[in-house]
């Protein structure tokens, strides 16, 4: 196949995906069989950015949960991945099965089981409860990214630093972390992205009281106002894209620093 055809298909695929969202978000009474809306209406976008919509608080909550989850994940995964890769370990297989199980068994299954306990502990309808709930689907990705990053730090480097008299903390800060930075950023991107995309477990634990972007968006796309649904979908994509773009810039910067 010609190279240009492959490129054409990629561009066409992305356009064919974005076009219906953009057109629908700008449409008002877009009748079949018209290919394009007869008139452009900014109603949905005006509503989205107006005070009556809950866009601001939804974006804020979504980002707050995603960042909270990512910070906790880093705290858990940096030592865990180190332990998995650096030491001979009895029951390594079991540990891996435990840590990676939430990648295949859907987290909502476990969350429905623990839902009642969350209610008793007063964790439902709260941000800490949601951060806890989002940990299960995101932690395996963080560990996975860090594991591949740890493989690039040979133990020799740490040996070297130890010989030169660096203590544990200094070795961590000056040797391990710089090598680990790409993995930290890749894991954070995945963790943020997966957390931003959660609907069902946010709905279960948040009880519809904590508004995140998926919670706000879902009623519109499941048979609500199509124009608003499309506008919110685009906002979501834009937000996820921006978050990943920032992390990607940091990633490039960190590569340059390591090299």
């Amino acid at each position: 196949m010609k190279l240009s055809i492959i490129k054409f298909l990629v561009v066409l695929g992305i356009l064919f995906f974005l076009a219906p969202l953009v057109l629908t978000s700008l449409s008002a009474g877009w009748r079949w069989p018209m290919l394009w809306p007869a008139e452009i209406s900014w109603r949905s976008w005006e509503y989205l950015f107006s005070g009556q919509s809950q866009t601001g608080i939804a974006v804020f909550n979504s980002l707050l949960i995603a960042c909270g989850v990512t910070i906790v994940n880093l705290g858990l995964a940096i030592p865990a991945a180190y332990g998995l890769i650096r030491f001979p370990l009895k029951g390594k297989l079991i540990v891996q099965i435990i840590l990676f199980a939430p990648l295949v068994i859907p987290p909502f299954v476990s969350l429905m089981g623990i839902h009642f306990t969350f209610i008793r502990l007063g964790l439902t309808e709260s941000l800490p409860g949601l951060i806890l709930a989002h940990l299960t689907p995101t932690l395996p990705y963080m560990i996975w990214a860090l594991l591949s990053s740890y493989r690039t730090v040979g133990p020799e480097w740490e040996e070297q630093a130890r010989m030169l008299g660096a203590n544990g903390l200094q070795r961590m800060i000056h040797v391990v972390i710089p090598f680990l930075l790409p993995g930290i950023l890749a894991g954070s991107s995945l963790s943020i992205l997966v957390s931003l995309s959660q609907y069902l477990i946010t709905f279960l634990i948040g009880g519809g009281q904590v508004i995140t972007l998926p919670i706000l968006l879902f009623p519109f796309i499941s048979g609500g106002d199509p124009a608003l649904g499309a506008a919110y979908a685009l906002l979501f994509i834009g937000m996820a894209f921006l978050a990943l773009f920032i992390l990607d810039c940091l990633l490039k910067w960190s590569y340059r620093r390591v090299n």
């Binding site: 992305i14 069989p33 299954v109």
Partner: protein, 287 residues
């Protein structure tokens, strides 16, 4: 002594939290589905809810729907995924990044775009009309919120194809890098190179990623909830409806469905793990 327990100490927070939150949830769900720790009061061990499920026609309809939508989506995405990965081999890094766009979009938004494209008054039917292929809106088949699940299958195909492509891409790239020239010098055509060398080497990674997709599509909730019909519904939607819309007494039924989902997806994940292990242990050594 310190050195011996150190890795366990390092692993304890992550493993402990996963055990508590995830496996704790699974265990609590299992116990409740067996009639213990009932929310509505009373606690007695019973297989009643599983018996109810196994004789329920609606449950088997749901099982079958989940099974074939997942199966069809997985088969098609696996084939398209490896073709996409072959196409990616020829593209520069920048272009490869653009295809990762598909991974950025969550499933429910992908599902919504499928609705906008493929509903009877959707964009595809408008284009077909513009080209004179259909005259009226009724001539376009019902592909969204249809009883068969075409909309669900379409959404999964376009979400899982890039996933499989990106999972097999590193393996493919490595195979082509190390073996293509040798094979060509020895006179292999591109097709026979693919059949004799690439396929056997890429197979474990390919099958493992397809199994992960099968486990996911079999149990995921958002897409069938958005693009499905009220009856039959997939197991995940069945569980959700029973849990939230049913009475408190019926919740063990939802948790029984959940436990079956956990067993099925866990089993698929286990096979996938075995395959990918075989590939990473034996496969990498020779080349």
């Amino acid at each position: 002594m310190w050195l011996k327990i150190r890795p366990y100490l390092l692993l304890m927070p992550a493993v402990g939290l996963t055990l508590l939150l995830f496996f704790g949830g699974l265990a609590l769900g299992l116990l409740q589905s067996l009639g213990l720790f009932s929310i509505s009061g009373g606690s007695s061990f019973t297989f009643e809810w599983y018996q109810t499920l196994l004789v329920d026609q609606a449950f088997w309809k749901s099982f079958w729907l989940s099974f074939y939508t997942a199966g069809i989506s997985t088969l098609i995405s696996a084939v398209l995924g490896i073709l996409t990965a072959l196409g990616l081999l020829r593209l520069s890094y920048k272009w490869q990044r653009m295809t990762q766009f598909a991974l950025l979009v969550p499933h429910f938004i992908a599902g919504y775009v499928v609705i906008l494209l493929f509903m009877q008054s959707g964009w595809v039917s408008r284009w077909l009309h513009a080209f004179g292929l259909i005259d009226s809106i009724e001539q376009f088949p019902i592909l969204v919120n249809d009883p068969f699940g075409w909309g669900v299958i379409l959404t999964y195909i376009w979400k899982e194809t890039p996933f499989i492509a990106l999972m097999v891409y590193p393996v493919l790239a490595r195979i082509y890098q190390s073996w293509l020239e040798v094979a060509q010098t020895l006179g292999a055509s591109r097709l026979s190179f693919f059949r004799e060398i690439v396929l056997p080497l890429v197979l474990p990674a390919w099958l493992a990623s397809a199994l992960i997709v099968l486990a996911f599509t079999f149990s995921a909730f958002e897409v069938p909830y958005l693009l499905g019909v009220t009856f039959p519904e997939t197991l995940s939607v069945f569980s959700y409806q029973t849990y939230l819309s049913g009475s408190l007494e019926e919740r063990p039924l939802a948790l029984a469905v959940n436990f079956l989902l956990a067993v099925a997806t866990g089993f698929l994940g286990w096979i996938a793990y075995q395959w990918s292990k075989r590939w990473s242990v034996q496969g990498w050594k020779g080349w």
